[in-house]
Symmetry: C2
Subunit: 137 residues, 2 copies
Amino acid sequence: MDSQESTLTIGRLATAVGVNVETIRFYQRKQLLREPPRPLGGIRRYTEGDAARVKFIKSAQRLGFSLEEIHHLLLLDEGMRCSKAAEIAEIHLTEVRARLQDLERMESTLANLLEKCSRGDKNVTCPLIAALQTDVE
Amino acid sequence: MDSQESTLTIGRLATAVGVNVETIRFYQRKQLLREPPRPLGGIRRYTEGDAARVKFIKSAQRLGFSLEEIHHLLLLDEGMRCSKAAEIAEIHLTEVRARLQDLERMESTLANLLEKCSRGDKNVTCPLIAALQTDVE
DNA sequence: CTTACATCCGTACTTGGGTACGGAGTCAAC
DNA sequence: GTTGACTCCGTACCCAAGTACGGATGTAAG
């Protein structure tokens, strides 16, 4: 049933995940994605796993991670010595939690603005800048 | 008390917020930051408000927003017609909530990995890719 | 078996977000 | 009133993350 793998050409993979063919090839050059074996002068075939990987890259980028950071995260997914994994995970976890806090503050500030608006206030300001002033001195 | 404004030169502003002088000037060219009046051939002075604005820009960038999106967010902070503000806020709120979900999943996946490690497992994998598979079909 | 369309691969170009450079002006301290 | 550090401004350069180009090869349909 799930042996129906390897049916994707690069073009179909690209449209499936919503990126350019060149982007796939670019990720391969950057070692973010494997380059499937090429059957003697033939055409490479990709799996659903490859598609998931590209989607992950795109999602992580939306969250503000660089391709280099994403490279580390992907290594975690692949499995590795625990001590090393923990080291990487810890660094990223700290970052992720900091971003979560900022995003939560941004969320509530924006939600607040919308509520004020629906109350019928004509002109509004939205203290967004203040929302992200983390610098607790 | 708070009339002790405008004491920052561009260099002091830059070091205060931890960016390059050139970055400040770049943001001014991009209209993300006002260019304070220049007293007849003299030197521009910046306020704490300018510093907060630059910090906001940097924080928002970490959250994955582009300078163009940040430009919109800053307009909200400045106050505007409610209908227009609501429109902008709504778009960004949707985005922010989607990112929050992804980040939360990433957070719990990473936290989980760390816990498994501290339990003494030798080798671990971290289903990070799966964590961000949002595509609810 | 040829025609149309895709893949392959190398190289070149683009865009966003800065950095660096250099000559001229300013300002404070000696 | 000169020296040193800083500002001003324009222009040029840089890196990350793609995008585009184009000739050669592969492959499916008529």
